[in-house]
């Protein structure tokens, strides 16, 4: 007997879905923003070629790039409060891993954007008598930011998908909401299909936008 698809059950949980989507979007926005701030700060610091500054940052970036995000989320959720001996609110502990993960990639994007600016721009700015700050603000950053935007948008899209891993620490995001509804309805096929569709509907316009941004920068 062929499987009979029935999405009516899924629709009955509309307000759950909306809540789940809101949590997913909130974590995405929060961790992307947090990661961006970390990336700008660490990326700037990397320009100071002092080993005692750059070494810890490189260590941080590589640590987060070379361990699975799922492990990071679980570690920050369960282990960090014990290591620090403090009570961290669950929603906060769950977000730290995601934020630091985004921060590691943002650092690389920021640094890459800055060092992609031609050496001639730096020497011409210096020859005119600009200080380091003036050069950064007026010459280097305006050019570099244009180049950073497309990879940053791409990383943000990946980040939005990565929030689904919050599922393992029971944060009621889209994915976790789905699993709750499954246990209620025993309709995993319809529910997880709906989860996939929800992610797609949010992300597809974003990828189109990213592609357009990239085309504009390439001009």
């Amino acid at each position: 007997m062929p499987y009979k698809w029935d999405f009516s059950l899924v629709v009955n949980y509309a307000h759950f879905w909306v809540k789940g989507l809101a949590v997913t979007l909130a974590y995405s926005a929060g961790t992307v923003l947090g990661g961006l701030i970390i990336g700008v700060i660490c990326g700037m610091l990397l320009l100071y070629r002092r080993r005692w500054v750059t070494l810890p940052i490189h260590f941080y970036v590589e640590l987060f790039r070379c361990t699975p995000l799922l492990v990071q989320i679980v570690w920050f959720y369960f282990a960090l409060p014990i290591v620090l001996q403090v009570e961290l609110p669950a929603w906060f502990a769950a977000g730290i891993g995601l934020t630091l993960y985004m921060g590691a990639f943002s650092t690389e994007i920021f640094r890459g954007g800055i060092i992609s600016i031609d050496k001639g721009q730096w020497q011409a700015s210096r020859a005119l008598g600009m200080t380091g700050g003036e050069m950064m603000r007026h010459i280097i950053l305006p050019q570099a930011i244009k180049r950073m935007v497309p990879p940053f948008v791409n990383q943000s899209i990946i980040q939005l998908k990565n929030t689904s891993l919050l599922y393992v620490v029971a944060i009621p995001d889209l994915m976790y909401t789905g699993s709750i509804i499954v246990s209620d309805t025993f309709r995993p096929l319809e529910v997880y299909t709906s989860v996939a569709i929800a992610y797609f509907v949010v992300l597809y316009p974003l990828t189109l936008w990213a592609a357009r941004l990239e085309a504009r920068v390439d001009q």
Binding site: G120, Q121, Q123, A124, R126, L128, G129, M130, K146
Partner: protein, 259 residues
């Protein structure tokens, strides 16, 4: 006469690790003088030029530009930070690859020094920039971006950009080497005009006819050292040093006597 000296360099050295690119160069440039440095590729002439505005930090020697003198034997006289920026602001430099700011129009490029470094009001900087662009023959191109200009035009904008800071001294680092041959003349013409107006300049170039026509003094470098220097006519047409002779023989016939 000493207050007439704009640049005095003594025993300047620059090494990169074990390689010494500049090996004890001394040079005096008087106010209003045009000095041309020639020599084979890799002879250290560009490095020497970049030492004068401290884009490269010399390893040893002394450097005096205007009132400011620096002894590289004593590290504490090497300017840093804002002080270094101020030192450079008084020296204009034009590069082989133009290095205009691509996100700014020609006008904004020329205004960048006065506005960003000198904090000059925009209107005043704009007036200066328009005058300078007109002077280099680009009065109609003020709103063009660098990518919309030919190499020769870009280089003339770069000269105007450096001049906008009203520098005491202009440095030209092989400014025509990246240009198509038919565009070289327009850039050299602007430089000739600046020299005729009494701009103090040090020019690193392979343009021997320019050297002959414009230089008050020609310096020949080889292997990081000055091998010969003197009046243009003398050095270019009757070189005494065998290394100068060997170098100039490659340009044989292209340097005509000044008439």
């Amino acid at each position: 006469m000493t207050n007439d000296v704009m640049v005095r360099v003594e025993g300047l050295r620059k090494s990169y690790g074990a390689v010494e690119a500049v090996r004890g160069v001394s040079l005096d440039v008087r106010r209003g003088q045009a000095v041309v440095i020639i020599g084979p590729s890799g002879c250290g002439k560009s490095t020497f030029l970049r030492c004068i505005n401290l884009l490269e930090e010399p390893s040893a020697g002394t450097l005096q530009v205007g009132e400011r003198s620096i002894d590289f034997g004593k590290r504490h006289t090497m300017p840093r930070g804002r002080d270094l920026a101020r030192f450079r602001a008084r020296i204009g430099m034009v590069f082989q690859q133009f290095d205009l700011f691509p996100h700014m129009t020609a006008l904004r490029n020329v205004m960048s020094g006065p506005v960003i470094v000198k904090k000059m009001p925009t209107a005043q900087a704009e007036a200066i920039a328009r005058d300078l662009l007109a002077k280099v023959g680009l009065g109609a191109f003020t709103e063009r971006y660098p990518r919309e200009l030919s190499g020769g035009q870009q280089q003339r904008v770069a000269i105007a950009r450096a001049m906008a800071m009203e520098p005491q001294l202009m440095l030209f680092d092989e400014v025509t080497s990246a240009l198509d041959p038919e565009l070289v003349g327009e850039v050299l013409d602007v430089m000739k005009q600046l020299a005729a107006e009494g701009t103090t300049m040090i020019v690193v170039t392979h343009e021997m006819n320019f050297a002959r026509d414009v230089a008050d003094h020609v310096v020949v470098m080889d292997g990081g050292q000055v091998v010969e220097h003197g009046a243009a006519e003398e050095v270019l047409l009757q070189p005494k040093n065998p290394r100068t002779q060997a170098f100039l023989s490659r340009f044989h016939g292209s340097i005509a006597a000044r008439t």
